[in-house]
Structures are given as C-alpha cells and as structure tokens.
Amino acid sequence: MEKGFTRVRPLEGGLDAWSDAGYHLEDETIVAIRRPV
C-alpha cells in the first residue's frame, strides 16, 4: 500500500509500546442505543 503515499511505517511494539512509554491514550466512546419503553 506504499504506492502513492509519502511513507508508511508500522509502530514498533504496537499499542503496548505506546502505553508502556507512558504516552496519552484516549478512550473510544461506546454508546448503547436502547429502544424507548
């Protein structure tokens, strides 16, 4: 998928490495939709 893109690189160690380094992570908002009673 590098074709046409400036540069594509994977993050060494993935999300764990980012988390272990103490950098900020944001939570995905999970919304529950419930039919009104």
Binding site: E12, G14, W18, S19, Y23, E26, E28
Partner: protein
C-alpha cells in the same frame, strides 16, 4: 535388543512426557520424532500405545493449561511476549487473533499442526475469556489428533524407524553428541536468521518515542489503528487521533488516507 532401545523403553514415558510438555511450553525441542519412535516401539509390542498416548496427552494438556491461565491473567499482553519468539511479532499477534476470531475454539482441533499457532492458541483462548471446560474439551481433541498422527506415523513406518535407531546404535556415545549438535545448530541458525530479519525490520519501523516527536512536530503523521474487533473490545483505548481501520478494510478505504502525510500503522 538394541542398547538405545532398552534405554528408550526404560525412560520412554518420562522422556515422552518431558518432550511434549517442554515443546508445548514453547521450547525448541520437537516432540514429533519422539512420538514416531514411540509409535514404532508400540507396533513391536515394546511399549503400550495407551500409556504413551495417556502420558503425552497429560503433558500437552498441562502445558496448554499453564498458557491458558497465563493468557487469562495477562490478557492480550501475553500474545506479544509469545510472539516475540516469532520473526514478526506484529503480524504474529494480528494473524493469530484473526485466525482465532474466524474459527473460534474449534481451531484448537488443528492448532497443533500450524507452527506458531500451536503455542499462541492456548493463551489466546485464555485472553478471550473462554471457559476452562470448553478449552480443555477442544484442546484434548486437538492434542489427541496431533499425538495420534505422530504415533501412527511410527506405527506404519516402524521398519524405517528401526533402521534409523540401528544407525544411532552403531554410533554409540556419538549418537547423543550428533543429536545434541544437530539441535544446537538448528537453534543457532534460527536465532541468527531472526536477528538478521529483526535488524532490517527495525529500520523500517517507527518507535513510540519517534512517533511522539512526529506528532508534536508541525507535520504529524496520520495514525491508523489496524487492530481487529476482539482486540478493540479487550482494550478500547487508542492513540490520540488514530483512525480505526482493520487490515481487511484498508484496500477499500485507501481514499480515506492522506497522501501528503506519513502514515503510521499500529496493532495490539
């Protein structure tokens, strides 16, 4: 009777237990040759097929249960530790998660026949909060298939196995030296090959510190979270600004990615 065969008969069950247990824990000591020899000895009535199968099954289930419990305790984090033994930790974690997500627990039936997945499947089942009963059921069936295949090979080709044992017998003490040297060479070659590939991969990757510096610069990269659904359910956090896109979606959503900025992909 060959001296070597006598030795195998005397310590056979203990050797089979240790070999299967260590291999299932992830040690580079293949159990298949031992199972083949045991199958050949069983064909000649020198070992009980039932006791060999029972001991090997117990060893496999014990080792797999250890990994299952570690997976349950440590979650997805343990996958990265196990996958460090493979050539590409990222693709190892993602590939095994995808395989498990598609086939579920029945994948344990054939897990032992797939190099790599063999060690990953038990902790993965634990990390995915599967029940111990269900794990033991599928793992026992898969283990029986795998152990049965090895023993059956020895049972069928017992003449060829006897010839190999005879050659080793002729070598005497040196048989042990040859086997140990062969095993050491295999481990050394794998380690060297892995080290070489990891060196190349490291150059093509971005570290967490480098990514942070890029994000704080004037031209931050587009970060893409390529974790699969189960990984998101397990850990819903993400790197700030990351776009969610599974590996399967990338081709269809190429247009969503900027072409004037660097792209950084990450998984578990």
């Amino acid at each position: 009777m060959h001296e070597l065969t006598t030795y195998l008969l005397h310590y056979g069950l203990a050797i089979i237990f240790a070999n299967v247990f260590l291999e299932q824990l992830g040690a580079p000591v293949p159990a298949l040759p031992t199972l083949i020899v045991a199958g050949a000895l069983a064909q000649q009535g020198q070992m009980g097929l039932g006791s060999v199968l029972g001991v090997a099954l117990l060893a496999a289930l014990l080792a797999d249960t250890v990994w299952f419990l570690i997976g349950r305790w440590q979650g997805h984090r343990v996958l990265r530790t196990v996958c460090r033994l493979s050539l590409s930790p990222d693709s190892c974690v993602r590939g095994t998660e995808d395989l498990f997500e598609r086939a579920g627990m029945p994948s344990l039936l054939y897990a032992k026949f797939i190099p790599g997945y063999n060690t990953i499947a038990p902790p993965l089942a634990g990390a995915m909060r599967k029940t111990l009963i269900s794990f033991l059921f599928w793992d026992a069936l898969g283990s029986l298939l795998w152990l049965g295949s090895g023993l059956a090979l020895g049972y069928i080709f017992h003449h060829a196995v006897n010839q190999v044992l005879q050659h080793l017998e002729d070598l005497g003490f040196w048989a042990g030296v040859v086997l140990a040297a062969g095993l050491a060479l295999v481990i050394l070659y794998k380690w060297w090959q892995r080290r070489r590939v990891m060196k190349v991969l490291r150059l093509a990757r971005v570290s967490a510190a480098e990514l942070k510096a890029l994000m704080d610069s004037g031209n931050p990269p587009q970060i893409v979270d390529v974790r699969n659904r189960s990984a998101h359910l397990h850990d819903p956090r993400r790197i700030p600004g990351a776009m969610k896109m599974t590996i399967d979606e990338i081709d269809a959503r190429l247009g969503d990615l900027p072409r004037d900025r660097e792209i950084v992909l990450y998984c578990t």
